[in-house]
Amino acid sequence: MPEKTYRDALKDGLREEMIRDERVFIMGEDVGLNWGGAFKVTKGLADEFGEARVRDTPISENTIAGTAVGAAITGMIPVAEIMFGDLITLAMDQVCNQAAKMRYMFGGQTSVPLVLRTVFGGGKNIASHHSQSLESWFMHTPGLKIAVPAFAYDVKGLIKTAIRDPNPVLFLEHKLVYDKKEDVPDEDYTVPFGQAKVRREGEDVTVWGTFFMLHKALEVADELAKDGISVEVIDPRTLAPLDKKTLIESVKKTGRLVLVTEETKTGATTAEIAATVQEEAFDWLDAPIKRVNAPDTPVPFSPPLEGYFIPDNKRIAQAIREIV
């Protein structure tokens, strides 16, 4: 099985789906010929599929999202891109009021098979308008499915599931994960929505996290193993639907839970997970659920500031040590 970057695995997934189903097309700012996406995910696809199916758009986020909605309900399967997750602020009406609610408010008359890709996260010193992690807004939006792939194998399988799903899927990526490598089959395969993956088994404490923080959590788990602390690490893979079962089973085993994401703390996805787990596994918890998040500030620019902002291995390890 060839080793591939997350970026290439994602591109493979897009490519294979475009070959499989001619209704699938890509649209977004600079996704096409001259650039291939700000993070080069779609590079080369315009050459292969033409500029109509890998379509550059004006800088019109709300209309990009709305165009995807209109195309989706009339027989196409758009994969639209918002260049940076911070800019989805401009498309919230089309994403949250239209795409997410349309099937419901029309009583099931239509469905909205679109994928909206965007990228979250810091670590690139590009400051407050290009580094946020806003996934919790969408977890709080009924009608959206949300994929949060953090590994190359998953990203290919999940983009295929997203494209084949008849509902609007928000497909979230992370800037620091594009270069991560993993063995990725060349064949067609899908990764199901709503199934978390236990990335490492452990006995003493469960760690649940997303994106780059998942990679850090795995490093921390390795470190702590040396001290005899056995950490189980869970990757949700999708936030909606959310696999509570895998998580709760793990917590029932370990009795302890640490949640790690790069979001600012108040109102993060970690709040929802903590609330749910204490609701459903109260009697199994031996310690308070810990949340490791960024502080409640915008994302700062300067390296020492951004370094402080983003949770690091030390903070993750410390949170774990506090409750085991």
């Binding site: 309900i73 029309f106 009583g107 008359q109 008849p166």
Partner: protein
């Protein structure tokens, strides 16, 4: 343009149908069986009638918050439409949408929406889809004078122009957005002239004259089907009632209401007289059509009233389409 008699009759029929439908809604509202709020289409009937008569069944329309007239003119089942307004399970949206989301997908309505100007991007997407799928279908997108001040207006007009989409932009300029006169909020004499900035051919027509609207739309449809891109038609018209349920519209100057609400400017009278004059209709035929429509509307009201409300638990249905 010379119009055939059949078309004149059709214009009369659609204009009247919308009128009678809305009068019935007004009555039902008086009977206090319509929950929530309402934005009546009374006064603007000629716009919906003129536009939809120029379309074929598989063409699409995008509606607004003032959508009853659009939907009925496009050929909606009136039973399902009235039942929806009453919140019944037999409604086209199973009671989930109501007035602001009244939609019948199966007759080519992309949706009615409560967010002003949110339909424009969706229309772009539908038109793009018509184009990419190689159909000869076109999309007509209705929106108000107020909507033309929202950001989606420029974004969507531009996208329709650069991609030469089969799209007809219908501005229903009824001089007000709620209590706000358009002349306070728009520096130019017409909204149509904004389309010049996007190189979109545009025209201003009497929105109370169904024939004028029809003729302009026919031209626009021709261009659209020929791949020549979008057209914008500004239809100048007026609401007979207030903006919504409890608005008495006292902010409108008497001179203005006197003119616009005169017998002379009445949309039904105008098309009726024209049809009779041109021999498309006799008085008796006109009356017969009216009687038939009135009966149908009456029946629909009966149907709606007699229908059951949805069961409370149905709240939970229709959020997501089933994955195949």
């Amino acid at each position: 343009m010379t119009v055939d008699k059949k078309t004149l009759k059709e214009l009369y029929t659609r204009t009247l149908k919308v009128r009678r439908f809305e009068e019935k809604v007004w009555d039902l509202f008086g009977e206090n069986v319509v929950p929530g709020t309402l934005h009546l289409y009374l006064g603007q009937e000629a716009v919906a009638a003129g536009v939809t008569t120029a379309l074929k069944k598989t063409d699409w329309i995008q509606s607004t918050h003032r959508g009853h007239g659009h939907v009925v003119a496009k050929g909606a089942d009136m039973n399902a439409a009235l039942a929806e307004l009453l919140g019944k399970e037999t409604g086209s949206c199973k009671g989930k949408g109501g007035s602001m989301h009244i939609t019948q997908f199966n007759v080519g309505v992309l949706g009615a929406t409560g967010v002003v100007a949110s339909g424009l991007p969706i229309a772009v997407g539908a038109a793009l889809s018509c184009q990419m799928r190689g159909t000869d279908d076109v999309v007509a997108c209705f929106f108000g004078d107020g909507a033309s001040n929202n950001g989606t207006f420029g974004e969507s007009l531009n996208m329709s122009a650069i991609w030469k989409l089969p799209l007809i932009w219908i501005v229903e300029n009824n001089l007000y957005a709620m209590g706000t006169p358009i002349k306070m909020m728009c520096p130019s004499a017409t909204i149509a002239q904004r389309a010049d900035g996007y190189c979109i051919p545009n025209v201003v027509v009497d929105g109370n004259n169904a024939l004028a609207v029809y003729e302009a739309t026919v031209e626009a449809v021709k261009r659209a089907r020929a791949g020549e891109g979008p057209t914008l038609i500004e239809c100048q018209t007026y609401r007979m009632k207030g903006h919504s349920r409890f608005d008495a519209a006292k902010y409108r100057p008497e001179k203005e209401t006197k003119y616009w609400l005169s017998e002379e400017r009445d949309a039904v009278r105008i098309i009726r007289e024209m049809a009779i004059e041109q021999g498309a209709l006799t008085e008796t035929q006109a009356e017969k059509i009216d009687a038939k429509i009135s009966k149908d509307v009456e029946k629909a009201a009966d149907f709606a009233k007699k229908s059951d409300f949805p069961k409370p638990e149905e709240t939970l249905d229709d959020v997501f389409a089933e994955v195949a």
